[in-house]
Every structure is written in C-alpha cells, then in structure tokens.
Amino acid sequence: MDPRDILSIVFLLAAAPFFLAGTIGLLRFPDVFCRLHALTKADNLGLGLIVIGLALQADTWLQSARLLLIWLLVMLSGATVAHLIARTALRAGRKPWSGRS
C-alpha cells in the first residue's frame, strides 16, 4: 500500500481516542473547568490529527491549505470560547473542584 495511505490511516486512527477522551472527560470530570480541558483536547489534537491525515490524501496544496485553515480557525475559536466560558463560570461563583467533595 502507498506509504502516504498508511500514514493517513495512522493519523486518522490516532485521532479517535482524543475525541473519545473529550467525550468521556465531558461526562466524567467533576466540574466545568475540568470539562473545558477535555473539550480543548478534542479541538486541538483530535481535529489536528484528522486534518493531517486528510491533508496527506489531498490532491493539491490548495486543498491542504483549506484543511489547515479550518483547523486553525477551530483552535482559535476553541481557545477563546474556553477562556470566556471559564471566566463566566468563575464570576458566577463556581469554585473549581478541589478534590474534597
């Protein structure tokens, strides 16, 4: 098989656990701040590995650039939104989980 195909498969398969971790973290972590961490792992690494895997399959540089742009935008939005949501939660009075519940 084409080495490019093998690499793509590796990257795509590697992305799955990060999205799974994001969802499991969303469901199991004890407070909103920890869950924001889980969210951003899916944003950065999960989507990033998918983008790399698909970019290897792209026919032209332009297509790879499109994929990269989408990933950068998602990371930018994700980081800003995570910060803003955490700030809102803090100002609303939520205390971060301290391990002694």
């Binding site: 992305a15 969303l26 469901l27 983008v51 935008l73 939104v81 949501i85 939660a89 609303a92």
Partner: protein, 96 residues
Amino acid sequence: MTELCAGLALFLLVTIVLGLIRIRRGPSDADRMLSAQLFGTTGVAILLLLGQATDRSFWWDVALVFALLSAVTAIAFVSRTEPAETAQEQRDEHGS
C-alpha cells in the same frame, strides 16, 4: 480509506450522542454551552471525514462555516448575566 473515514464519522456521531447526556445533566449553563461547543468541533471533523469518504470537497466549505461560527453562540452565552440558580441546580451541583 473510504471505509475508515465513514467508520470514523459514525464513531464521532456516537460521541455526539453521548455528549447529549451532559446537556441533560448540567448542572450549570456553562456545562451545557460547552457541550454545544464540542458538538461544533466534532461536526467539523465529521464533515471533513464525510467529504473525504464521498470524494466531494465542497463539504469542506460547510466545515469552514462551522469553524467560523462556532464561537458566535458561545460569545452570546457569555454576554448574558446568569440568572439565579434554582434550588434543584444547587442540589445537583453539590451532589455531583
């Protein structure tokens, strides 16, 4: 490759369905909002994979729009003053 992309897209859809549980549980509005944010990101990933699986790259334009707009609803959320918690929410929060 096509099977892998389709299978991954299905897998990501299942993670979205699981994420709906957080919307139900809460307990705070921020938890629900960040679930919606995660759905946006996962939606982008699903669109990229579907585009590859069906060999049509204009799905990637839809993914671009998702990516551009994912922040707008969240920013609308943080602009509001969170109304007073109901008693049920206070019970939920101390419980979990």
